[in-house]
Amino acid sequence: MKTKFINLMVVNLIMLIGTGCTSSKLGDVVLDPNNNTRNGITTIQSVSPAPLVFSSLVKSLLNSADIIDPAKINLIYAEYNLQKNQLPQLGDAGEINTAAVGAIIVIAGQVCGALKDKELAPASVKKAFVGFKFQAVATEVTIASLAPDSVVKDAGSSLIKMFLGRIASESERGSFVLARDRSFLGQTITSTNNRKLVSDLAVILCTGVASSLEAISM
């Protein structure tokens, strides 16, 4: 569980770097180009009040992922109800603390789990994880065979389109490959865990995108 959580954090980080938040586009909040560094890390400062509306969070994520199974929806709302006290009560990004980050990741992770389950079905029309070897055979025990670079990049593009509503940059696509590598780091792929690892990878990549501020803000 801890490993999974850290993996999610890593992907979230990569989303930060990968989203290339450097120029103001239509619909952006006003940004101060002279105040975009914190602890030596380039980022973008959000104005206050930040565009966070947490009671919209679940519905938006469900819509984005096209989750329509009532049982899954009920489970996700149940999770939201468990986590909501950790979320900023006034919906202000300035109130986000570590617990809130965790809560957002947990909720997004539930949505992504439902999305993965939907795409796990053999006959499903896959929108996010095309080419992922969810049904890997025993001999497929390498990253290249389970989720090769091109497949992971395309999954990243699909997830960004799905949750952020825009085209992924090449830099972002590459960051998903890095995230995959970090996710698999130190783990031995075997004939018995290969399917689970692919499945976990899908959820991890998805959660990184779905828990980003760009995904949860309006």
């Binding site: 979230n12 938040c21 959000s46 009671s55 990004a93 980050v101 509503g165």
Partner: protein, 402 residues
């Protein structure tokens, strides 16, 4: 910074702060019509749609055809607008903690129902109803309980979509409450539960001003020495702590709020919320006892009826509120009319809608935009839906070129 460096930082234990920063990074792209449609819908209806949603595609096509008003109408006509966006609009107004994420209550339900098109006239109901209307709602044709919120809580928990078919306005607020004592949301069970429970009913005025005039009493208290104090009640010490210092404190602080607040709280002299029964009660035969309790200064005002008078009419307050309604009267409805007919009522609605739709507060330089929107709001019959639309279409709001 390269990704490798990021990972190194993670390994050095900087993970959590970094993730927080990543969440704080905000980018909203709205370059294509589909992206603009998503932005417009999510700002108005407070929910993002699936990229393949037919609604989103419809809005996108309208935007491509430069039909922005029609595109906004689609968002405003959605169930999400009523059930998510308006819910978020009214929920902070309904609780003492001003929390946007609470369960459905009669205050929120009344606010949402008042924003549905009136089936009789085919027009929007005025937002002013919310402070001076004699109405309540039924849910699935069932009258709301006076002692609990179960009906609406159940609807909320089961995520029932509120529509004009299941959430209907009824013309009498509560049995036994005459029209002169009904003031829309101000006399709803929820508002009374939050602000008339215990205390001295002063909070009713305090929060009526906070929620509908966007003015906390700290802003509208009047420190002018010429201000009299005939309305300050007898439960207010004229020398808190005793001695000259206490008397000075009364003159410098206590009086500046109480003269204004106490003069108006009489509007709710017959309203109460009884904690033991969880009921909002109204008894026109007797002033609520808690109001005249604690006789610290026998010469202070004793409340004998629900006559109230507004003393927040001088100097800066006159300009701040732009009063155009009655400045004195009997009962809650007249008080609500005073609130609802002020110009500040309209600009307050604009400020709240702007903050919700545009995700930022209006700045000082946008005073003209605010006033223009407020006049438009009034000219449009105080249509809240119309105001949401007008605000969304202000170029300064979403930064989208229309």
């Amino acid at each position: 910074m390269t990704h490798v460096k990021v990972i190194n930082r993670v390994q050095k234990g900087m993970l959590k702060p970094l993730v927080l920063v990543s969440l704080l990074a905000n980018v909203s792209f709205a370059e294509t019509s589909l992206q603009q449609a998503q932005l417009l819908y999510s700002r108005l209806a407070a929910v993002k749609l699936s990229q393949s949603s037919p609604v989103l595609l419809n809005i996108s096509q309208l935007i491509e055809a430069k039909k922005w008003k029609e595109a906004a109408d689609v968002a405003i006509g959605s169930d999400d607008f009523s059930n998510v966006s308006l819910f978020q609009f009214f929920s902070p107004l309904s609780s003492r903690g001003e929390n946007p994420d609470i369960e459905l209550n009669d205050f929120i339900a009344m606010g949402i129902a008042n924003s549905f098109i009136d089936p009789v006239t085919g027009k929007d109901r005025p937002y002013t109803n919310l402070v001076d209307g004699d109405f309540s709602v039924t849910f699935n044709n069932t009258v709301l309980s006076e002692s609990n919120n179960t009906l609406l809580t159940s609807a909320f928990v089961s995520r029932t979509v509120l529509t004009p078919a299941n959430l209907k306005i009824v013309s009498v607020q509560r049995v036994g409450v005459p029209p002169s004592a009904a003031a829309g949301l101000l006399t709803s069970r929820q508002f009374l539960k939050e602000h008339a429970i215990a205390g001295t009913n002063r909070r009713m005025v305090h929060y009526a001003f906070r929620e509908f005039l966007c003015s906390d009493i700290k802003e509208w208290k009047d420190g002018d020495p010429a201000l009299t104090d005939e309305f300050v009640s007898r439960d207010v010490s004229r020398a808190p702590g005793g001695g000259i210092a206490g008397a000075q404190q009364y003159q410098a602080e206590c009086r500046t709020c109480h003269q204004l607040q106490d003069g108006m709280r009489n509007a709710f002299a017959y309203h109460d919320f009884v904690e033991t029964t969880a009921r909002a009660v109204y008894d026109p035969t007797a002033v609520v006892s808690k109001i005249n309790l604690n006789n610290l200064f026998p010469g202070g005002m004793v409340v004998n009826n629900d006559f109230w008078e507004n003393k927040a009419t001088r100097g800066a307050n006159d300009q701040r509120f732009g009063w155009r309604g009655p400045l004195s009267g009997n009962g809650a409805r007249a008080f609500g009319q005073m609130i609802g007919r002020s110009f500040r009522f309209s600009t307050c609605a604009v400020e709240k809608v702007f903050k919700q739709v545009c995700k930022r507060a209006l700045i000082l330089d946008e005073q003209l935009i605010k006033e223009s929107l407020a006049r438009g709001f009034e000219g449009d019959g105080y249509s809240l839906r119309g105001l949401f639309k007008s605000v969304a279409l202000v170029p300064a709001c979403m930064g989208v070129k229309q």
